[in-house]
C-alpha cells in the first residue's frame, strides 16, 4: 500500500461569531473532530450539503486555515510544526482548484501572467522565456490548443470551461502531490463537467496526484469514484457521518443521511423520478451551526431517530469496511430500517 500523504486527526475548526447587539461571542464548529486519511495517488470524495464543513476541511488540509484543535499531517509531519522551509515546500505540493474560475484569477492580468508567476516565484522557470515554454506545455496538457491563442487573453474573455482548465493548469504547474478540487465542476455546464473530471483523472495517472474531491453532487461523485477509484466521505454539520470505499457508499448507504441524500438526488428519468416521494425528513431545513441538536446531529431531521439518538452522540461503528456514525448502522445495512 502506498504512503499516507495527508492525514487529519481529530480536527476541529471553530469560527467566532460576533453578536451584533451585545452579549458574548459565540462559536460555531464548522469542522468537528474529523479524522481522514489520503494515500499517495488515491482519491477521497467529500460529499455534503452547503454548510456541512466540506470546504473548511479542504482548506484546513491545505494549511490555509489554522485548526482550533487537532492536527493535519503531510507525509507524516504536522504542518503547523513545520519549519518555514518545510511549510513552503508543503504549500508548493498542496494546491487547490476553486469552484468559480472567474473569481480565482486576477481579472486585469493575462493568462500568461497568472500561470508564469508561480513558476518564476518557485524558481521552476529561470526566466520569462523558459516560463513561456512551460506555460505553453501546460496549456496543451489541459487541452487548450494552440496555446498562443490563450496566453495573452484576459479571464473575462474566456468561457467558464476554458478558464477552469486554466485553473487546473495552474494547480498542476508546480508539480504538486495533493490537490483539493473544491466543487471544481459545479459551476460548469453539464456537458463540460465530465470532460473536466476526465482531465483531472488523466493528470492523476500522469503525475501520481492525490485528490480531495469536494462536491455536493452525488451523480458527479459516482462518476469520479467509478473512474478514478477511492473513498467517499459524507459530512453533516461538520462531522463525518459515513466513510467507505468506492461507489458502494452511494449505491448502498448505511447512514440515514447518506440514504436521504441519495433518494433526493435528481434522476433524469421521468417515471423513476415521479415514483419517488418527498424525502422523509422530520424537518426540511438544515439546522444552523449555532444551534446544533444534542446527541446525533442529524436527529432533528432523521426520520428514524428515537430518544437515544436525541441524547447520545453516536460513535463510529465499523460496518464491513465502512465507518458509520449512527446508532443503528447495522440495521440500515441489513435493511431492517
Amino acid at each position: 500500500m502506498s504512503e499516507v500523504l495527508v492525514e487529519t486527526k481529530n480536527l476541529v475548526k471553530e469560527f467566532k461569531i460576533r453578536r451584533r447587539f451585545g452579549g458574548g461571542d459565540r462559536f460555531i464548529r464548522a469542522v468537528d473532530n474529523v479524522s481522514i486519511t489520503l494515500r499517495e495517488g488515491e482519491n477521497l470524495a467529500l460529499v455534503g450539503e452547503s454548510g456541512s464543513g466540506k470546504s473548511t476541511l479542504g482548506r484546513l488540509t491545505l494549511g490555509l486555515l489554522r485548526p482550533t484543535s487537532g492536527n493535519v499531517f503531510y507525509m507524516g509531519k504536522d504542518i503547523w510544526k513545520m519549519t518555514k522551509e518545510e511549510f513552503r515546500e508543503f504549500r508548493r505540493n498542496a494546491q487547490i482548484i476553486h469552484q468559480d474560475p472567474y473569481s480565482s484569477f486576477n481579472p486585469v492580468k493575462t493568462i500568461f501572467y497568472s500561470l508564469s508567476t508561480p513558476l518564476l516565484h518557485h524558481k521552476i522557470a529561470r526566466n520569462k522565456r523558459e516560463a513561456y515554454h512551460m506555460v505553453a506545455d501546460l496549456l496543451r496538457r489541459v487541452g487548450l490548443e494552440p496555446p498562443s491563442d490563450f496566453m495573452n487573453r484576459y479571464p473575462s474573455r474566456m468561457s467558464g470551461g476554458q478558464l477552469q482548465r486554466i485553473a487546473i493548469a495552474r494547480a498542476i504547474s508546480l508539480r504538486p502531490k495533493y490537490i483539493v478540487a473544491d466543487e471544481a465542476v459545479s459551476m460548469l455546464d453539464a456537458s463540460l463537467r465530465l470532460g473536466i473530471i476526465d482531465l483531472l483523472l488523466d493528470l492523476q495517472k500522469e503525475y501520481g496526484l492525490s485528490y480531495l474531491f469536494i462536491t455536493h453532487d452525488l451523480g458527479i461523485t459516482r462518476y469520479f469514484i467509478h473512474k478514478g477509484g477511492g473513498k467517499v466521505a459524507v459530512m453533516y454539520l461538520g462531522s463525518l457521518v459515513e466513510l467507505g470505499e468506492g461507489e458502494e457508499v452511494i449505491r448502498n448507504p448505511y447512514h440515514p443521511y447518506t440514504r436521504i441524500l441519495v433518494e433526493a438526488s435528481p434522476i433524469p428519468d421521468p417515471k423513476m423520478a415521479r415514483s419517488r416521494g418527498i424525502p422523509k425528513l422530520r424537518s426540511l431545513d438544515i439546522p444552523s451551526l449555532t444551534n446544533v441538536p444534542p446527541g446525533c446531529k442529524f436527529s432533528s431531521r432523521c426520520p428514524y431517530a428515537d430518544t437515544i439518538c436525541e441524547k447520545k452522540v453516536p460513535e463510529y461503528r465499523k460496518v464491513d469496511d465502512r465507518l458509520v456514525a449512527c446508532h443503528y448502522a447495522e440495521q440500515f445495512k441489513t435493511g431492517e430500517l
Binding site: 455546464d189 455536493h216 459516482r222 433526493a264 433524469p268 428519468d269 415521479r274 418527498i278
Partner: protein, 339 residues
Amino acid sequence: MESLQETEQSNSQEEDEIILSIRNLTIDFKVPRGLLRAVDKLNLDVYKGECLGIVGESGSGKSVLAHAILRLKDPNEIIRDGKILFEGRNVFEFSDKELREYRWKDVSIVFQGALTSLNPVLRVISHMVDTAEAHGIRDKKSVIKKATELLEMVRLDSDVVLRRYQHELSGGMKQRVVSALALLLDPKLVILDEPTSALDMLTQKFFVKILAEIKRKKNITMMFITHDIATVAEIADRVAVMYAGKVIEVGPVEEIFYNPLHPYTKALLNSIPSVVGDVSQFKPIPGIPPDPVNPPPGCRFHPRCPFATDTCSKVEPNLEKIGYKRWISCHRWREINHV
C-alpha cells in the same frame, strides 16, 4: 421539409389550447465585442395546463426568453424580430396599461434570484397586500385569506411566516414564499426561472415535489426553466431543449428522455451522471458551447456533433414538426434514428 407555420394549419386537429405562442423571436444584446444573439429565430408554443420544461446550458438564451415573455427589457437589448402572442394578443404591442395588467395577473415569474427577490424591510404579509393593491385589489382580508391558503399549499405555517421578514426565513422558505406570491393573483401562466438552482439538494427535491402538487391541484400553466435536465424529468409534461438561442427539440417528457432524437439531447442526457443507472455509459460532450457573438454557421451544434456533414456546417436546419407536440431541428434526425 415542412416549416413550422405550414404544419400548424394542417394540424389544427390538435385540440389543446395554445396559451402562449412565440414566433421567430430574435433578440440581440449590445456587448463590448459586438452583438450577442441571445435568442435566434425561436419558435415555441405553450399549451394550456401543461408544465413546459425549458432546458439549456448557460448562454442558451433561456432566461432572456423568460424575460421577453414579460417584456422585461434590458437597456442593451434589441428585439430584432418576431412576436410573442399571449392568448392571441401580441405582447410587444401592449399599451402601458395593458402591460401592467398582463404582468402578474396573466403571467407571473419567479426569478432566478428568488432568494434576494423580497424587500428586506417588508414583512411577507406586506408583500402580499402590496402586490394585490398594485393590481387594484383593495380587499385586504380576502388577500390575506388567499395568501394564507397559498402558503399552506407550499407547506409553510402562514401564521408565522406572514409576520416574518426575509432575513428570518431560510433559503427554501424564501423560495416558497416567492412562489406563493407569484400565484397570488391566479395567473394563467407562471414562469419559473431556475427556481431550484440556489437551493440545497434536499430543499430542491422538496420544492419540486410541491410545485408538481400545486400544478396538479390548480391546473395552472407553468414554464420551468432550468439548466438541470434531471429536475425537469420530475415536473415537466413537455420539454423544450435550447441550444445557442434556438429550440432544437421539443416533445412530451417521456419522449425526450426515453427517445431523444436530436444528437445534442442525446449527448446531454449521456453527460449527466446520476445515482442510478450504469455509470460507465456517461460521457462528456466534446468541444465547447458556441460563442453567441460569433456562432458557427449552419447548425449551431455541428462542431460538436458526431453526425455532422457538410450540409450541417452550411445550412441551418428548420424546426420541423414530426409528431404530436413534437418538433426537431436536425438535418439528419431520420438517418441517425433509423426512421
